[in-house]
């Protein structure tokens, strides 16, 4: 042992140890997302639902003799996955707390923000994988549609695709941020579903009733602020709405949550 503090005589020699590379953390976190039964089934259910949705859509449009485009198939799958991707984002964070593995994780990597960053990266990777799967399954469904129903319409709208990528990622990160804030699966899931499915209705109601709330609503309603993303046609005001509401629903909970984790005792 070389001694850096000669007075003590037994200092640890850290010169040959490099800090854990970020990529390795991401790989470990990715593995954690599917190596438990709960995680595996969540991913399996997401994949299965993509198949099921596009299959049902295909069956319906063929039997009901309706027109369909490639983009429609993918959009149907996207609707379904946008329900469960946030749950994935939540579980990535809270599984660590519910099972107390945070103790081990943070003992091996004391730079806690990096652990969170790795988890968020895994969430984004899995979101993109889900989208890729929706695209492939949609492709197969559209081919079948062409064979069964007549000419397949390959219209997709690539401008919408980018918006779609972003909104799905935001949905996942929304769950991730709430999970970081609450560090509790049940609370995060309930609040997320309220935020996603109940709040838009309430905001619309409030806006319809009160003039001052109507002018405030676009600044706090992150979901409607994401609407223009599909056309990728945001004007200055819409960018403003997106950024402000995004800070409220993504950045703020994440910041408070991580601040809390950094200070908290890990039990």
């Amino acid at each position: 042992m070389s001694t850096t503090a000669p007075g003590l005589g037994h200092a640890l020699d850290l010169s040959s140890t490099r800090p854990t590379p970020f990529l390795r953390l991401v790989r470990v976190e990715l593995r954690k997302s599917y190596d438990t039964r709960a995680g595996f089934w969540l991913l399996a259910v997401i994949g299965f639902l993509v198949l099921l949705t596009e299959g049902i859509v295909l069956a319906v449009v063929v039997t009901q003799d309706q027109a369909m485009t490639y983009g429609d198939f993918v959009a149907a799958a996207a609707f379904v996955t946008s329900i469960l991707l946030p749950v994935l984002g939540i579980m990535l964070v809270t599984a660590e707390w519910g099972q107390r593995t945070a103790m081990v994780t943070f003992a091996l990597e004391p730079r806690r923000p990096l652990v969170f960053l790795a988890k968020a990266t895994v969430g984004i990777i899995l979101t993109f994988a889900t989208i890729a799967m929706a695209l492939v399954v949609g492709l197969v469904c559209n081919l079948l549609y062409g064979a069964l129903q007549g000419p397949a319409d390959w219209e997709f709208g690539w401008a919408g695709f980018v918006g779609f990528l972003i909104t799905q990622t935001f949905a996942m990160l929304g769950g991730f941020a709430l999970a970081t804030l609450f560090l509790n699966t049940a609370a995060a899931i309930v609040v997320f579903f309220v935020y996603r499915w109940v709040l838009p209705g309430l905001i619309a109601l409030g806006a319809a009733l009160m003039a001052w709330f109507d002018s405030l609503a676009p600044w706090i309603d992150f979901q409607s602020a994401q609407g223009p993303l599909y056309g990728m046609s945001l004007d200055g005001g819409e960018w403003g709405h997106l950024i402000v509401s995004g800070i409220i629903w993504l950045v703020l909970p994440l910041a408070i949550g991580i601040w809390r984790v950094l200070r908290a005792e890990v039990k």
Binding site: A38, Q66, I83, V87, G98, T185, F193, W197, V198, M210
Partner: protein, 269 residues
């Protein structure tokens, strides 16, 4: 040892003076379990705070905007927070026993598992009824305040059918959560299933009914949310009750039966 049931062994347990744990005691213990952990307490507090907040907002909005409302309008808006959180309470009532592994303790103190489940069931119903009572009181206060603040005529349009329907609605919400929890024995999965069932599924059923003719005719028989609609405004007809019974069987009885069978047979870890 006095009475020896098996004289040859000489040391049989004398059970004659021990009576089995009474059901009311089990129910009281289960009730205590709903609030004696931080998660349970916060859930109850959140339900109360959210309900009060909804009512205060509603009251201030109707007064400020000079809208006309009645007692029933106030009561219905309490449904928002309660329909959301009571089922979560129902879910945690059951799943917290599994995720925290207390089932081991619970079932060793009372091996008659159906009784434990029945006790939890009773506690769930009791809490739903208590929530309804609180909602009635809150709505009364709000309606009286509304009359004072707005100067409009106060309408007390509360019928027995309304109250009955409202109680049934809350109890069913709680029990649906309970049934999903029994089926899955896992908090996140049960909560996600419940949220999808109550927020996402109605839209999908509506879409399916709009697109497909035959689906439109079977929808009332399988869409439990839809079947509960007439309960809210107390306009249940004979056919509505039939829809209600059949869809309730699908969403409430079947998962509950499978779940309970599973709990009774499962190895408790």
């Amino acid at each position: 040892m006095s009475a020896t049931a098996v004289p040859g062994l000489g040391h049989a347990l004398d059970l004659s003076s021990t009576s089995p744990t009474p059901f009311s005691r089990l129910a009281r213990v289960e009730l205590r379990k709903t609030w004696d952990t931080r998660a349970g307490l916060w859930l109850l507090i959140s339900t109360a705070v959210l309900t009060a907040a909804v009512m205060v907002i509603q009251l201030s909005v109707v007064v400020a905007q000079d809208l006309n409302v009645s007692y029933n309008d106030f009561l219905t808006s309490t449904n928002f927070s309660m329909a959301l959180l009571l089922p979560v309470l129902g879910i945690l009532l059951l799943t917290s026993e599994w995720s925290q592994r207390t089932a081991m303790v619970t079932f060793s103190l009372e091996p008659r598992r159906p009784l434990i489940i029945a006790a939890k069931f009773v506690v769930g119903i009791g809490l739903a009824v208590a929530a309804v009572v609180i909602a009635l009181v809150l709505a009364t206060i709000c309606n009286a305040l509304y009359g004072l603040l707005s100067g409009d005529e106060v309408v007390w349009d509360l019928g027995l059918a309304n109250v009955g329907g409202f109680v049934l609605l809350q109890v069913i919400g709680m029990l649906t959560g309970f049934a999903f929890a029994a089926l899955l024995l896992n908090s996140p999965a049960a909560i996600v299933l419940y949220m999808v069932y109550s927020f996402v599924l109605p839209g999908l059923f509506g879409l399916g009914a709009a697109l497909i003719g035959w689906f439109d005719t079977i929808r009332p028989w399988i869409d439990f949310n839809y079947a509960q609609g007439p309960l809210v405004d107390a306009t249940m007809t004979g056919e509505d009750w039939a829809h209600f019974a059949v869809s309730g069987f699908v969403w409430l009885v079947v998962p509950l039966a499978i779940g309970v069978a599973r709990v009774l047979r499962a190895e408790v870890k």
